[in-house]
Amino acid sequence: MELQTKQLTPEAILIHINGRFDAAVVEQVKRLWIENEEVHFVITDLSETTFIDSIGLATLVSGLKTTRQRGGELILLKPTEPVKVILELTRMNIVFKIAPTLEEAQAFLKPL
């Protein structure tokens, strides 16, 4: 697994998860919004995520709740087919905003 982050704006970060999104990476991902209260928007790039397990899903939900409490949002960007299948099977696809491109994901970022 490889995790990359990019500050898009002072309030928005882009997280790119390459490989498996599971227990091995969740603490690292959570820290990105827990330790920085300025983070209101998180775009999670799942375009190279090969698998997500229930702990990965719980982490995304935790990020969604945290960002919404701050008046922001957590957006999923371009999930791969295996990830899309899991989101659909668990009906989590109705919980998250899912964007096919970075431009469309960035459209969800609104001024606070």
Partner: protein, 418 residues
């Protein structure tokens, strides 16, 4: 030999004699110092958790090198002990303590003591794995002698001893902590095992069976059944995301809540919705979510209701055709309110339902995840009864190439209409 070389030779010989005498004096002093150390060290504890435990070592150093004062400092709790008590304001030492990180002895001069006279101190860091965890120092009045190399040597060796006392204490403490955690995990495991049904209902037309296996001492999976006031059988399977104690606690509380809701006669949709309302806030605070499938069935008529909140699809063999009953709502704890949808069926003889946790579908095989298809392939076409179907699935898992211990909790529940 010239006069000059003769003079030089005599001078060298004299110097050698002086050095030999000094060495002999040092050897005697060292022997005396160690002799003085012994009685103190016999009383010294082998483990140190506070400065008080290091005091015997400090006393021995003071005696061995004939110092006037001593101080021991432990960084973790910012704890000091001085001999005599409170002889100096120890705060003045802090600005010099950055130098301790070098691991070398440091000398600090002109420290006013309470008796009004200036003192000078020699400190040695207490090092554990190269990290400074504290310091031991000895003090003399400024107008007394200087600390010697022998004094520094004694201080170094005794500080190493203090370090080993702290290491021993840390080891004992961590062993005690580990034992306590193991005991607590064992209790959690017993509680979790106690909520999994030991028996299944004996109903003429229904066969209910299950297998529950946590991957570690405790896990996030559970299953259960209850007879409702209407005479219907209600059964459920649940999976709290995660492993270990947090998931187990979540599973135990969810199991209890679902069982209560069903015992009161709620249908699968209402049971899931009601329980979700209750767990939403605690799950949000704990970062948890849980998937669950609930089924109620009339043992007489075979009338069945099924609702799935984020759980793996139920495998349903109805009239010899397999279909998947997917989740109709996200897992519990994700949204403040959920509105699951029911699947209604009238079961007939030979119909079979299999509910399972992702510990089965996410088994990694040589060709990727075992998946729903793996489970379906494991069930022979004309198999009769839920118990045989579940046994076939478990046997197929055992026979998967390179399959070792389960990486995730595995729970499977089967229900068939006879």
């Amino acid at each position: 030999m010239t006069d000059r070389t003769l003079v030089e030779a005599i001078a060298y010989k004299k110097r050698i004699a002086e050095l030999e005498a000094e060495l002999e004096e040092m050897t005697v002093a060292l022997a005396q110092a160690w002799d003085q150390l012994v009685p103190f060290l016999q009383d010294a504890p082998t483990q140190a958790t506070s400065t008080l435990d290091i005091v015997p070592v400090l006393e021995s150093i003071i005696a061995a090198i004939d110092a006037r004062m001593g101080a021991v400092y432990l960084k973790q709790d910012d704890e000091w002990f001085t001999i005599p008590s409170e002889i100096v304001n120890v705060r003045v030492f802090y600005k010099h303590f950055d130098q301790l990180e070098s691991g070398q002895t440091i000398h600090i001069h002109n420290i006013p003591a309470w008796h009004g006279r200036p003192t000078h101190w020699m400190f040695m860091p207490i090092l554990i794995n190269g990290k400074t965890v504290g310091a031991i120092g000895v003090g003399l009045e400024e107008d007394e002698r200087q600390f010697t190399a022998l004094d520094a040597r004694v201080l170094t060796r005794m500080t190493e001893r203090a370090a080993s006392q702290i290491v021993a204490a840390n080891l004992v403490e961590s062993q005690a902590r580990e034992a306590q955690i193991a005991r607590e995990m064992q209790i959690a495991s017993l509680i979790q095992r106690s909520i999994q049904p030991l028996t299944v209902p004996h109903l003429p037309a229904l066969e209910l069976t299950a297998h529950w296996q946590p991957a570690a001492t405790v896990g996030g999976d559970a299953w259960g059944w209850v007879m409702q006031p209407s005479g219907q059988l209600a059964c459920f399977i649940l999976d709290v995301a995660g492993k270990g104690l947090p998931a187990a606690l979540g599973a135990v509380s969810l199991h209890t809540a679902l069982k209560m809701a069903l015992r009161l006669g709620l249908n699968p949709v209402d049971a899931l919705s009601t329980v979700n309302n209750e767990v939403y806030e605690p799950y949000t605070n704990a970062g948890l979510l849980a998937t669950a499938t609930v089924i109620t069935i009339d043992p007489g008529s075979g009338e069945l209701e099924h609702a799935n909140a984020g759980h793996t699809p139920t495998l349903a063999r109805i009239g010899n055709r397999w279909s998947l009953w997917n989740a109709s709502t996200p897992p519990l704890g994700v949204l403040p309110e959920i509105t699951p949808q029911s699947e209604y069926r009238l079961l007939e003889s030979g119909d079979l339902l299999i509910c399972y946790s992702d510990g089965f579908s996410e088994i990694e095989t040589q060709h990727g995840f075992w998946g729903t298809h793996g489970l379906l392939r494991a069930i022979p076409d004309q198999i009769a009864g839920a118990n045989l179907a579940v046994q076939e699935i478990l046997a197929a898992v055992e026979h998967l190439p390179n399959y070792g211990a389960a990486a995730d909790d595995q729970t499977i529940m089967g229900l068939s209409f006879l």
